[in-house]
Symmetry: C2
Subunit: 490 residues, 2 copies
Amino acid sequence: MQLPISVSRSSDAPIQAQIVAQIRDLIDRGLLSSGTRVPSSRELSEQLGVARRTIMLAYEKLIAEGYLESRQSSATFVSALNPIRAIHVDGGGAPNSHREETCPPAHLPCATRNSPNLYIPAHQRSELDFGIGRPDHRLFPQKAWQRIMFENFAAHARVISDYPDPQGYRNLRLALCEHLRLTRGIDCSDEQIVIVSGTQDGLNLVARLLNQPNGKAIVEDPCYNGAAAAIETFGMKLIPAPVDREGISVGDWPKDAKLVYVTPSHQFPYGATMSLERRKKLLSWIYESDAYVVEDDYDSDFRYNSSPLFALAALDHSRRVIYLGTFSKSIGPGLRVGYAVFPRHLARAARDMKATMSNGLPTLSQAVIAQFMRSGAFERHLVVMRRQYLARRDALISGLLEAFPETRISGADGGMHLVWTLARNQPTARDLAVKCQDAGVGIYPILGSPICKSFAPASPRDVMLGYTPLTEGQIHQAVGRIKHLLRASS
Amino acid sequence: MQLPISVSRSSDAPIQAQIVAQIRDLIDRGLLSSGTRVPSSRELSEQLGVARRTIMLAYEKLIAEGYLESRQSSATFVSALNPIRAIHVDGGGAPNSHREETCPPAHLPCATRNSPNLYIPAHQRSELDFGIGRPDHRLFPQKAWQRIMFENFAAHARVISDYPDPQGYRNLRLALCEHLRLTRGIDCSDEQIVIVSGTQDGLNLVARLLNQPNGKAIVEDPCYNGAAAAIETFGMKLIPAPVDREGISVGDWPKDAKLVYVTPSHQFPYGATMSLERRKKLLSWIYESDAYVVEDDYDSDFRYNSSPLFALAALDHSRRVIYLGTFSKSIGPGLRVGYAVFPRHLARAARDMKATMSNGLPTLSQAVIAQFMRSGAFERHLVVMRRQYLARRDALISGLLEAFPETRISGADGGMHLVWTLARNQPTARDLAVKCQDAGVGIYPILGSPICKSFAPASPRDVMLGYTPLTEGQIHQAVGRIKHLLRASS
């Protein structure tokens, strides 16, 4: 530790006194707190370019004054208590308590109170929590991951000491080309891929790249709030387009809109899969309007009732689709790795913009994912997850149908959550959520959700249920509790 | 692997024929390439909800046609060659070669060709490379790091399966409070800290938070290009302020500027330490103008000739300084972790903006750094690094002075690089750099550097030399080669 003190040889005060005064001041101001170990006399003498004897004398004086104390061998610490510091300690905080200003200045346009936040601390979750987009940690392939991590660790000293490629680790981009070609029908080169720290980062990259002063962006209504917030904070105007069971309704949109944001595989939050007809219509509109589509393919790894459709990006021959994918659902959101695929003519601008935004992602985690994919372990992991999640989804659907025969469910063909529309004779989603919380069950009403943005008034009867973090047994138990609650309240 | 195919039961074509046609098409279009293993008949039958026998028959037909081949036991692969695919293969690429569009549309404001880029691939570096801001990988505390990483790995399945706190892992923020208090005199709470993926990410966060339409930002001339690019791409106008040996000259700046970006500890690139007088003057200006300072403290962990001064943020009692720090220099840039400290009244807006920009950083690396700091290993590591880097700096200075007695050097009091100003009778920095490159020595002229932004014409005689990636012996050798080159050319 280097203490922030210095000595002046041109001062009248002796050097020892200068050191004593400054350390005393650091302690009085609360910057050095009790119990902190101060540097050894050797370290401080090296730092200040002062004889070690001078430091030892200064420390002795501070010990005599009660500021420092010498414990064990030769180590010196700030005393547990001394008369002056006691005032601050009893005062309940640091000497500069900053109570004066707590609001941001009014001119800051940015203080969005409605920021998207997928983070829910463990202690705020219910015992049986239908969390959205959360993989089951019990299914994480800890062994395979650990083995690959340790294999990569030998090279770690070298890769941690270098700036990574801001576009992303090349082996990961190459593995993604293969994966996207096989599973999503996307034909791209590694030069078109930018590794991002998740979909949110990717959305910001795209919005910043395509942003125009007073530009317009068309979004699904309702849509993922993270996308709305990312686009809106760049000053673009959001134009909502209604969603039905075939996905976004391509309609009479303003021709000067330059960006359309969609979730074709599993519309967020309602879960519709965009029909092929709509996809073609959307692409036609894009070509005519000289605009771009952002395809957020957040949970397409999980498809249950039918094969995955080709991605929009696979249908797009004039290269107007920007594709966003993530490992947050397939591996885990604590990894913070996703990817964006750009049309070839935008790739260079995207790489440059990414370098302006950040100097890339940690090399180790990218190398581990690349090897996880190359080794086939990723594909095997997905097979396991799909089977498990399918069983959980089915347990949830059959449980709900058994408890409430007239249950209406949507968005269950794929992904990690479905939407349950409560009947007229049942409480509203919000009322039920409050009751459920008391019963240890976490459910997520769409109305008022921090991760859903609605333009038209959202239905008060729709609840999102993420079935992936819970086992079949837990789902059974949770549905039982909900049934009990609804029976008691009717 | 799930193939992007599907079957329609309402179609006239038999299901087996539908499958054959679609797989044939995937292969013809190059989406399934030769050697790729296709799903087992069991997997595909599960995916499509079709009898396994149907899949087996479809595969047999495709094998007979030469599209697939069966190797080993029961695994089936795309054939190495077949008549139709050979055309594409010989054509030198994927069927859709996207040669039509290679330039971004002219209306995109963003395609900055001058994006900052600290990434230099290993094969592009010289044998003896005076790289800027690069720690020596031989000094990375691999053992201590590995031990902490493995200790944290037990909890990994859980933390990787959850979204992290977008503000950053709390234990890391707490460890930073302590570190900043002791080493930089900054008195802050963990609520004021946002963990970022390095200084570049932090700069974007600040610029985006404080950005105003047609706003003005004052920057050092020259300055770090990453900062200039981050601020400028948000549409702010950069006002350059000259730098001398006391740091930025606080002058007659426009009163409506709302942001000043400085590097007080070690001005980038010239290395001046901002004098206390200038610091006070700068803060006075800020208070009068109702503006903010961004203090980029990128390499203050390394201070050689004197103690570190308190950070500007420590002097700032009216809370107008935003402090940026990074682990890129002290641990390694491949880690991608830094931190921003906000005045209390901006902390909430900063957290919200960070959540809009990305959902935080990987939990594991943050947990490892926190434990590395708490255990005292970080401080011990810094002590080792400081001694080594000091010895290397001294080797470079004495080597240059010995070879060229009139050598002018600046910025050597701290940090990881110094600036060597070539004499009039020596070649320009650029000419010397070209010669050096041929001799296996990497040196970095300020004029034309992608990481330096100059407003006034930069001196053609100034060279940056990073002494941290090279041993004393290598530095000696490199200076010897430069001496030889200059003697040969004079």
